[in-house]
Symmetry: D2
Subunit: 343 residues, 4 copies
């Protein structure tokens, strides 16, 4: 870390900082400057030391140097992690994977019909929420365990592996029994009890970025899962909250190549939540692929106008099929393998 | 709601919207304009209807009219709710309540020493986290159940009621056995399983605004608790995430009078998290009181430089005592009763 | 517009709103609802009326319906506008145009060397700032008129048309004498004197989105130029300010297809400012093209490490050449014509 | 500055950074650590050096140490600057100054009536825009020079000094002939030609924070004016742009005490723009005073419902009088002198 002293810091104040740093077993190096003194440190620094020093008299600022995530870091693990959802491999040089399905599991018929459409268009896996987090307590919160059974049936019929969200630690076991991949939604990205719980079971985890989470915080949340022993984590950019009002969220396309640089974990893009408008899904999906995403997760519904949730951002089957024609072309244009992953 | 059609919407498209609205049992009223047609509705509107209509052909925008929260709304319940934490009444015309204590329960000695200092300076209640949400998995996550016992001891000695955070539905029972008020932290404001759980037990709930939550979302999260039957909810503004980098968060002082206008629930201010700098805590605390807050929640530590967490934003005992001298003066200046609440 | 009354609005308050609306020559339509009354209007609405009504007693909210921009709107002018910078056509079905060059004109040598490299790699036009807006008054503010002469020389040698920024109304004439296109920078997007000035001369205008401007505000700033009679406006997405700290700005890729839907004006992307990191420029450039951008504006420098400004986000000649190989592939993949525009 | 190398940086890369730093006449100090090497510097650092080093191979990050503003910094000038607008002193220990008036000068009658009301309620100075920046080109843009004459008349009658906005460098002379203080609006905070122009004339400057400007950027814009020789700069917090939608802007109350700590310049608060709702103006005004503001600037109108601009955030005369009763009480409560400044 680097401790920056105020211009008028006294010698006694500088000495006190030096002593305090030593208490943490760290070696301080004073760097007197023209305008003020700074104090660097040799060796590892703990956050605790940085926090302790920050409020000492005469200190202007403390700058941490090491990135706070380890197991998620490409500096620690250089090689791409490939995560398998059922038989579909995601990340590394693997073909682009498109996960698709309705926002929520609404009924057996809708789910099965969508699963068939996803499969025939070349999708790699199925999504659909049995447990739904909703901003208002008065809206549809999902079919629960019955929804899980419908997802299992859809998988049995189409062979597509299933990704579904889990909302509470107490549901992890039940959801993991059915799902091929557990999704942690944006609102739960910093629900640490839940991260601990999915970190202690073996199914892969799809971790969505919180709507106001920095990339660093996303990687630290991944670190929670990794630190519990589950190394199969997939990150997902799904749009962040900004001042812009014409779109539901602002899809942070910068995050795709930046995360690929910072971490070895696979990175997916969710253009449905990232835009909140069905007519922006295809162009932003293509943008994400061009920027290097390892796959997409997209909302599809047989009749978006009648969906119980998020219909305004769901693709119809026709629009999904069109997307699945152009996505491989973009993937090829940026050197992303021959084809899109499909069973 | 109001459905705004595109300029070039056809008569058939307008008719289809009118029919679709009727399917929800709502009466549509077409409003042809110079540039385009809009369609208003008589009677109650459900979100489901708004969502369904939004994606129909020819629709430019759907504007919901009713506020989506009910039990939290001052339009529904005009009179101020007074919430009691132990014997301390908060909200309505009650004296200002100052809740103070360390960020985390670190040790018996620090907690008891702080509790005595809070009491003698005129604090109304004690705060301290036994379970701590932390961005990194590698930092101190609290003393857990042992911390709860220490809090109980501090209450027994000082008579101050205890506010402490709960992180997981499975911990609610244990925390509620000890705490006089359950805190839901900013990161868990949209953890709906947790909101359901605290809504189903009788202890009051201190609900902190998420760092990127709108006021409407805060009120909807309160609605979750209220809808489960627990009407003792206190809201807390604690700073939102913005682009500004000199402060940890941006304390949204507008939210104090705006929330007081929108809801009958008490509104507290947390200037410690709202600023992230100990030297800004006092001026922002006074600002919040001047703006109409029903109370404050402040981090205090015997030796902020040595705190295990958040030392940089904690007040020393001396600074807390100074704050407790000036706060009642500001409260009086804005007509907020004679004194600050204290046991 | 739609005026939403409070739940407890009295009949007298509703009547007063109805009367006030009539004063503006607009016909109000009361819409009594289950919970409250709303008042819609037939015909055109002025902002002035909306503002006037908003503060009347009993009014909860006023929702404007018409979009406030006209000449920039695709609803008013359906067909794509094609803007010519020198001989290069931008927008409509025209080939993708890549404008490139150093952030600032630093010296004759650097500018000429870069111009040749841009030309040989297939760039369509040259960029370079003679007048530079800088956050600090102590940094290099550009070569001024001397820089303009160097730009003219670079054009003479390479045949590439020149895009350069103008900072003040009093400089418009001098800059327009040399430049083929006048750039309005992000910080000046709402400098209305400057917008008026460039609107009154005939050279095309490249208008960059302000770092915290909504798309609507960008279109309204374009409207200033259009309303003065200059119909040759090109919009440019260059990243917005968010809470994210790993990148300089957040490139709003959603804005590309959204703006193309809202307006007939060409839309460019600036991945250099949009990311602030040279190693993110290529992936985000490709993303912008995949999302439907009509062209790119990119910072290139012979020796980015030694650039006087923005070196950290400038491409070397080698990296620019690599980008110019892959961009046409992406353009083709999304059906964007056969080739990239080049002289 | 501190240069942080990547974990896998080679010795050759570290040496290259050391050499590059030396080229700027700065002495580098390598700090090898457990995980990576950092390089500190002795002596002054220029931004140019930091930028140059940032893109060298093996560099992970460059952290500037010195604050980039000088003349605005309290570290350079410790004593409070007192700025005089006419005969009213602002800043230092001076009594709180309240500047009030309509958003725009709309007519002679409205301006004179308001001036009398401001004076009789105890206001210190008069505000009113003759030149108005407007988001849309189709709205009222002010009365121009005629408005200036009306302001001069209002001053002659009431004795109140006049603060009014200037939009373009070419208007500075005309506005400065009439105004006692030139206002730079939020949209022009980074209009450097305009900052240069007001820095070269002697009338004091009221500089409003841009709606997405950091405090550092505000201070750097002040630095532009100061560096041109005009040392009479007053800063003004007027709300920043965030995701919150219930208020027009988010008033950043943290900025009041933070700016007072960073700079010796006076700091005003504008609760009218900071909230955008007339009913929030009084509580937020009091909050700003409690947080240490040197004064307020408030919109007042004889008939807010009929104002040509910003009526929804303007106080009526009655509400302004009520505010002027309570503001001195809050000022006294926080030890801010005996009374509010008034002629």
């Amino acid at each position: 870390m680097l401790v920056i002293m105020k211009r008028d810091a006294t010698k006694a104040e500088i000495d006190a900082v030096v002593e305090r740093i030593k208490e943490f077993g760290i070696t301080p190096v004073p760097l007197p400057g023209a305008e003020r003194t700074a104090i660097g440190t040799f060796g590892a620094t703990s956050r605790a030391a940085a926090d302790a020093v920050e409020s000492l008299p005469g200190v202007a600022e403390v700058v941490p140097v090491s990135r706070p995530f380890k197991l998620a870091s490409r500096e620690v693990i250089a090689e791409d992690t490939v995560v398998r959802i059922g038989s579909v491999a995601i990340g590394g040089g693997q073909p682009l994977a498109v996960i698709a399905g309705p926002c929520a599991v609404e009924s057996r018929d809708v789910m099965l019909e969508t699963a068939r459409a996803v499969r025939s268009a070349g999708g790699a896996a199925l999504r659909g929420g049995a447990f739904k987090p909703r901003t208002s307590p008065y809206t549809f919160r999902g079919m629960g365990e019955e929804g899980l059974e419908i997802l299992a049936e859809a998988r049995a019929e189409t062979g597509l592996p299933v990704v579904t969200e889990v909302l509470a630690p107490s549901d992890v076991e039940a959801v993991a029994r059915v799902a091929d991949c557990l999704q942690i939604g944006a609102r739960n990205m910093q629900n640490y009890s839940l991260l601990d719980a999915v970190g202690e079971q073996p199914k892969p985890v799809l971790l969505k970025r919180g709507m106001s989470a920095t990339m660093e915080e996303l990687l630290l949340s991944a670190e929670y899962v990794l630190a519990r022993g589950n190394r199969n984590v997939i990150l997902c950019e799904r749009g962040i909250r900004t001042f812009e009002r014409y779109t539901r969220n602002t899809f942070d396309v910068n995050a795709i190549p930046m995360l690929k640089r910072l971490t070895h974990l696979p990175v997916l893009a969710d253009p449905s939540h990232g835009t909140g408008k069905w007519y922006l899904v295809a162009p932003v999906a293509m943008a994400a692929v061009a920027a290097g995403a390892d796959g997409l997760i997209v909302e599809v519904h047989p009749s978006p106008d009648h969906a119980l949730s998020d219909g305004f951002q769901s693709l119809s089957f026709d629009n999904f099929r069109s997307l699945m024609v152009v996505v491989p072309q973009v993937a090829r244009a940026v050197g992303r393998g021959e084809r899109v992953a499909a069973r």
